[in-house]
Amino acid sequence: MFPFTLIKSFIRVSVLQNIAYRANFWIDLLNSLLNLVVSITAIFILFQQITELNGWDLSATLGLVGVYLIVSALRGLFIGPSLEALVGLGQEVWSGNFDFTLLRPINTQFFVTFRIWRMNALLDLFLGMLVIAFAITRSASPVPFWDWLLFGITLIASVLTLYALLLAFSSLVFWSPGFLFTWVFNALFQLARYPVNIYPPALRILLTWIIPVGLITTIPAMALSGTAAMNTVLIAVLVAILMFFAASWLFQKGIRKYNSVSS
């Protein structure tokens, strides 16, 4: 199974590099904990003043925070680090090292997606799951199996959508090398920390249909609290698949652009 042995090799090398670069487990742990504490504190401060936020009670909102942490963790596990090497600070596309990437006899999109891993993100994943567990116990109503299933499906759709969005933003670099499009995306992604329906209508439409950052955390959280209708779930899956193909197409176009002008 070539893709899997290749990924194994990428993980191995990433771990070695992390150790060599003196990446500190304890500092990463601290960062993860601080991130968690700040996110939860914000929710608690809010819910001292209100009991529900546009229909979301404390448990549901905490559930959404958990989803945000899980999705961010999966992004931080390999999607984020890999694409940052391509188009982040010190980017390959700018330095020209992308040439080497293009010379490898493997699918370029696969390569730039899976090549760098940050295993410490598993910490954030664990913390996110803790938050969800906490949210569920606090809501005092167990989550039926069907809702777990929907949660799983929408979570996968969310990660796929996140990947597609990040890939699309990254691809823009081929037309404007040096500009940090992924940092712009990072800023926009902050908006996913809260349910999308708290935003004013215009912004809500932007975050649902144009740059579906809102869908990424809101829909799985809805599934978890049993408020996700079937067609919502279907839309989430459809959007994820559509965005994946659109982003992949944009990426290929970007490579063709690089192939026609890099000197």
Binding site: T5, V13, Q17, N97, L103, R104, I106, R256, S262, S263
Partner: protein, 332 residues
């Protein structure tokens, strides 16, 4: 094996470069009506390379060498012409094609920085789907040829430039490519390492019949390694052939080195300029004249007449000087 491994016919590459005047007004104008300029980087270049050759691609900066190399490796799409490398069209970037070529870029590194070179080699082994045992054997063989066994386990960032270049070479040869492209491989290296690398390239070429195409600004590289030279200038191929004939063919001058029996007072330049001769240097009993090719015999006769000549040699200008003049004057 006289098969053609590289066949380039009428390769052209034109870039459309946005034309922009400085200033804010012009920048805004750019959105309304963008102006472009066509820059011809490569202009109808044709050549063929047979398997196992070591060929040099030389020319001044901006002549189109790197563009040509990038087209041959599929990194750049040509604007016109047909290209065949190892039986494939590079522009299609098929995996089968990418498996049989390789590239070393003198000023860029494909090594992972913080970890030992061995780890990069292992990942490359996975990427090129080479059996683990094979990878091990090839690393051993190549590092033996390059005398670098002791640096394999050091983090790449701790290596000297020369040691790193050895790693780049190993990395590029692990999958035994049929064609190896070297873009300024000896850039910035000290003489002993340069020699080491040149010996290695010759050795490798003899052992595996790999076709090698290299660009370099070091004449020593070209002279030692390449039987054949492609000279590109202003995007055009102005010479394709043996190195030792280049000077003869491209230059229309000859150098006459004269040694006379008695020290001379200053030679009168005007006296010789009627032959179109230029005095290049003058030192006690020796002097050198540059003469237009056709005037050389007549000039030689004059010299033999005029002076008591101890030694006289008529030769082609040194390669470097010829190429230098071409680079500078743009003409031949």
């Amino acid at each position: 094996m006289n098969e053609k491994i590289i066949d380039v016919q009428n390769l052209s590459k034109t870039y459309r470069v946005p034309q922009r005047d400085p200033g804010i007004k012009a920048a805004l104008n750019q959105f309304v009506s963008a102006k472009f300029q066509d820059v011809v980087a490569v202009n109808h270049v044709s050549f063929e390379v047979t398997a196992g050759e070591i060929v040099a691609l030389i020319g001044p900066n901006g002549a189109g060498k790197t563009t040509t190399l990038k087209v041959l490796t599929g990194l750049l799409q040509p604007t016109g012409g047909s290209i065949m490398v190892a039986g494939h069209t590079p522009g299609k970037r098929e995996h089968a094609f990418l498996r049989v070529i390789s590239m070393v870029l003198g000023n860029k590194s494909q090594m992972l920085w913080d970890i030992p070179a061995l780890d990069t080699f292992h990942v490359l082994g996975e990427i090129y789907q080479i059996e683990k045992i094979e990878v091990k054997q090839r690393i051993e063989e190549l590092s033996l040829m390059l005398e670098m066994e002791d640096i394999l386990k050091k983090p790449v960032r701790n290596l000297s430039l020369g040691e790193r270049m050895k790693c780049e070479l190993v990395a590029s040869l692990l999958h035994r490519p049929q064609v190896l492209f070297l873009d300024e491989p000896t850039l910035g290296l000290d003489i002993s390492i340069q020699n080491r690398l040149r010996s290695f390239i010759i050795q490798y070429n003899q052992r595996y019949q790999a076709t090698i195409m290299l660009t370099s600004h070091y004449m020593a590289d070209i002279e030692r390694l390449c039987s054949r030279v492609l000279l590109i200038h202003h995007g055009e191929l102005i010479y394709d052939g043996a190195l030792n004939k280049l000077s003869e063919q491209l230059s229309n001058s000859k150098l006459i080195r004269v040694t006379v029996s008695e020290p001379l007072a200053d030679i009168d330049a005007k006296e010789w300029s009627s032959f179109g001769a230029e005095i290049l240097e003058q030192n006690h009993q020796n002097f050198t004249l540059r003469v237009e090719k056709t005037q050389a015999p007549a000039c030689t006769a004059m010299l033999l007449n005029r002076y008591v000549v101890v030694d006289l040699v008529v030769e082609n200008p040194p390669l470097e000087a010829v190429i230098d003049r071409i680079y500078q004057e743009g003409a031949v």
